[in-house]
Symmetry: C2
Subunit: 357 residues, 2 copies
Amino acid sequence: MAGHGGRGRSEGRGRSGGRPTLEEVAARAGVGRGTVSRVINGSPRVSDATRAAVEAAVAELGYVPNTAARALAANRTDAIALVVPEPETRFFAEPYFSDMLRGVGAELSDTEMQLLLIFAGSDRERRRLAQYLAAHRVDGVLLVSVHADDPLPDLLAQLEIPAVISGPRSAGETLTSVDSDNYGGARSAVEHLLSRGRRRIAHITGRLDVYGAQCRVDGYREALRDAGYGTGELLIESGDFTEEGGRRAMSALLAAHPDLDAVFAGSDVMASGARQVLRDAGRRIPDDVALVGYDDSAIARHMDPPLTSVRQPIVEMGRAMIDLLLAEIADRRPAPVRSVERRHAVLPTELVTRASS
Amino acid sequence: MAGHGGRGRSEGRGRSGGRPTLEEVAARAGVGRGTVSRVINGSPRVSDATRAAVEAAVAELGYVPNTAARALAANRTDAIALVVPEPETRFFAEPYFSDMLRGVGAELSDTEMQLLLIFAGSDRERRRLAQYLAAHRVDGVLLVSVHADDPLPDLLAQLEIPAVISGPRSAGETLTSVDSDNYGGARSAVEHLLSRGRRRIAHITGRLDVYGAQCRVDGYREALRDAGYGTGELLIESGDFTEEGGRRAMSALLAAHPDLDAVFAGSDVMASGARQVLRDAGRRIPDDVALVGYDDSAIARHMDPPLTSVRQPIVEMGRAMIDLLLAEIADRRPAPVRSVERRHAVLPTELVTRASS
DNA sequence: AGGTACCGTGGGAGCGCTCCCACCGGTGAT
DNA sequence: ATCACCGGTGGGAGCGCTCCCACGGTACCT
C-alpha cells in the first residue's frame, strides 16, 4: 500500500511494509533474477539444488508474484471471462447458468486462471463489456446463450481474443464451440416414443432461428424416416420456446391431426404449455397422448405427470468449454495463428424417462 | 497479442497490430506523455484546448489504457471482490445473494471499478482466496454472510486490505460494516402484534452466536418491556435458523405456554417450522396464534396463510457497502491511515403485513 | 589437443503507465 | 523594473516482471 511509482522512493528500499520482489528473493537465494523467474514459472531448465534454494527463499520471504508486473511484461492476464448476455435475474433464475458455472469453476480450479463473471444484459453493460474487451483485460472469453444476431462474436474475432461459444449459432460456426447433441437427443426421444408403441408422433419446435432447435427438428425427422415414415407423415408445428407458443402449437396440431398419440416438444416449457391444451381437450397423459420434453429442467420433475425429458450435460459442457479455451489460448501464445481449424465439441444427451411417456 | 517484453521488438514500432500507447497518443496530439495521462485521468490541471486535442487523438487512435501498466505504476487494480464464504449452490439458492449482487452492481456501474465474484466455500477455495488476497489483486473486499469464527476478516486486516462486512460479527465489529436494523425490525414486528391485540407473544430466536439474531432478541425484549411487560413474561426459545429448529422451539413453547397467542420467529424458515407444529396442535393461524417471520423471503409469500415478515433492504445494503468500501479505498490512498474510526451503516427494515397476523 | 554442443545461469532491456520535479510564460505585488 | 507566484506542461525515473542474449562450465566428439 505504501510505495508508489516515481522517484520518490529511491532512498533505501526498506524491508518492512512493502511486499518482497523477485529481486529480493534472488538476493536471498544467492541467484539471479532470471533464475527465480524460471523457478516461479516452473521452467525445467533449473538444477534441483538451485530450485530448492529459491523455493526456500520464496517461503521465508512470503513472496507472492506481482500480477500486474507479470501481466505487463508477458502481455497476458491469466484471467478469462464468462460473458452472460442476459440480465442478472435470468442468470439466477435458470439452473442452466448455475450448472455451467459449476463445470467451469471445477475445471478451472486446477489452474492459475481467474474467472470473471460479466453480465451484458443492458446496452450500458454491453458498452462496458466492449470497453473491457478492447482493453484486453482477459486472455479469453466464454460465451453462453448468445442470440443469432449478437455482434459480440464478431467483436471478439476482430480483437483476436480467443473465445468459445456454447450453442453454436449455425452449422458453420466460426468460433470454437461446445454443444450438446441436439440431433441425437431428439432422435432418442422419438425412438423412445416409437419403442413405446406410439405411431402418430408430433413435434413442437423451438424458434427455428436457433441452431439447436433446428437440429432437434432434424433428429425428429430422421428418426421417423429411418422408421419408415414418409415426409408427408411428419407432424411439425413451430413454437418459440415459450409456454404460450407451446399452447398455440399444440392447439394447431390437435386440430389438424386429432389422431396423434405422442408429442415431442423442443423444450420443457413448451411441453408444459402443450400439456395444458391436451388436458383441456380431454386427452389423458400418457394414456391417450405421450409427452416428452427437452432440457430436463425443474419443470419436468414437477409436472403432473412428471415429464420425460432430454437432459443436456451442462456441467460437462462447462468443463469442455474451459478445455477448449485454454487450448486455444495456449495455441495462440507462440504464433498468432497456428491451428486455424476450429474445434467443435458435441456432448451426448441422456433421455430421462418419467411417467409422461 | 503480438509484441512481448524484451528487446525483440526494438525495430520500428509499426502502427498495425499493436494497441496504441500513451506515447503515441501524445505524439499525435502534439503534447507530452504527462499531459495525456492527466486528461485520461480527468485531472483539472489541463487547459481546455489541450484537453480537446488529446481527446481527439484518443478517439482517432482508439486508445484504451493498458490496465496492467497502470496497475503496476499506480499500485492499484481498480477491482474489488465480493467474497461469498459459501458453496456456489447456496449462492444460487438464496435470493439474498442475488439481491446483494444487484445492489452492488448498480452502485458500481458508475465507476471504473470491476467486480469479482469469489466463492470460498471449500477449504481449497479458501486457500486460493488467501493467495489471491496476498497478491493484492483487488483494492478492496466485500464480505457477506461471514460466520463468527471466520479467520477471513483478520487476514484482511493483516494484509491491510480495505473491507466492508455485511452483518457485523458483534457490537464491536472492527471492520466497516453494513447491517439492517435488526433491533428495530424485531421491535416493529412485536409492536405490530401488540397493536393487533396479542398479549402473549413468544419469540423463536436464531443462532445466538449470530449478532443479528441477538439484536432481534433485544428488539423483542425491549418492545415488550416498553409495553409494560416484566422480564418474567418473556417467552423466548432458541432455534438455529433451520426449519427443524423452528419446529423444536415451537413445540417447547407450546408445551410451556399453551396460552400464547402470537409467535415472532427470527427467520421465515423457522416460522415455517413453527407453523407445522402449530397446525399439528390444532391452532389456527392467525385466529388462535398470529405468526410473524423475518427476511420476507419467497417462503413468506408462499406460506399458507401468507406470512407477515420483516423485510431487509438487501439491495440498498449492497449499495451502501460499495459506498463505504470506495470511501475507505479513497481514504487510504494518500496516507496509509487517516480516519481510523470505522463506519457502520444501519439501514431500516420494513414490516410486510400479510394474512398470518 | 582442439572443437562443438549444450546446460544452467546472470542480467540488460523493455512492457506502458503514473508520479513528480523542473521549467515555461504570464500575472500581480513590491 | 524586479521578484515571487501559479497554472499549465514536458519528460525522467521507476513500478516488478518476462524475455532473451551472452557467458562459463562440463561432456563428448574428432
